[in-house]
Symmetry: C2
């Protein structure tokens, strides 16, 4: 499929596949899976349809690649947040970086994994399901991080890691919906301030 090694035979590809994929990410992000036509995609990617099919398969496979690309790049902050030393820092770092990512200048406002297909027609139900699975995986990773925090004594034994992870992700999703509607960063940050007041105090 990709053909970067020397000794390649045939006409070389006239575009950068990763760069074009970035454009596709933006279109799916802004318009949703069903709102993004192949015409919209190829126009933004600077290629035409047969090139898209040759390089990515079809619309659905392009979307899956776009989601993977988004997770690697725009969501990289999430993995970094999980590496913070305390559960509170994990939650705070995640939510603050999330708010920043949701309002990044030059990128669509909001969150790809919600906007691009929260609901779809039955024939594209797989898109919604894939996105939901991705969000669920993120929540699970955070839950496991909080379970470690309980074992470490960083969180009190009475705190439920699953509840805390679900809460943080819920706030994050709400921030994304707000951001998609144009709420500016400084207001999202105030929401994060408030949300963190729910965090269990370490002295409990």
């Amino acid at each position: 499929m990709t053909d970067t090694r020397p000794g390649a035979r045939g006409r070389p590809r006239g575009f950068d596949a990763d760069q074009a994929l970035d454009r596709a990410v933006e279109v799916f992000w802004r318009q949703g899976y069903e709102g993004a036509s192949l015409g919209d995609l190829t126009a933004a990617m600077g290629i035409n349809k047969p090139s898209l099919y040759a390089a990515y398969g079809n619309k659905r496979e392009l979307f899956d690649r776009a989601l993977a690309r988004y997770a690697e790049t725009d969501m990289a902050y999430a993995g970094a947040a999980l590496a913070r030393p305390t559960a509170h820092e994990v939650a705070e770092t995640f939510l603050r970086d999330n708010a920043r990512a949701l309002t990044m200048p030059g990128r669509p406002a909001g969150c790809f994994s919600i906007q691009s297909g929260l609901s779809c027609s039955p024939e594209n139900a797989g898109v919604s399901a894939t996105l939901a699975r991705a969000r669920r995986a993120g929540e699970l990773a955070m839950r496991e991080r909080f379970e470690r925090a309980v074992r470490d004594g960083d969180l009190g034994p009475g705190e439920d890691p699953a509840d805390l992870a679900r809460y943080v992700m819920t706030v994050s999703e709400g921030l994304a919906v707000h951001a998609a509607a144009g709420t500016p960063l400084h207001e999202l940050e105030r929401t994060v301030d408030l949300a963190l007041r729910a965090w269990p105090s370490r002295t409990e």
Copy 2:
């Protein structure tokens, strides 16, 4: 347009316009504006296209009517929550009733005003904008309720009604995204429990 009074001339309508509208609400809710084709809509409504156009105008006007209908029926709990005597009760009632509404058996999971058009193609940007405006109006109403609470001394003068309203709505939207992915009611309720821990104590 509607023709319920006696003395009507012409062939009487063979369907109940409000009942058909309820079916349309469900289709838009489940599939989104762009994922709901006229075929899906007319099939669910039990009518055919010319009847739809005669009764509602076109797809977009049908959607606007569906949104209004949703606001009147499924969102009725929101107005009731605002009537609670204290700000804390307003927030708690709103979030708990919200969680229940998001998982109401026999209705689509999640929230119409998010699922039906969080993002759209440019030609349907008006749908996203209309929904965002509706959510904004709800947040404003809650803000005004909290402003009254500050005047009443129910909330401390240091609390920001706009921040609190934005926070409650953010949690609500996050709950909706979770509900759309299948999170069951009892887990949403635990999230609400956690979210309410952020609420300012009255003794402050």
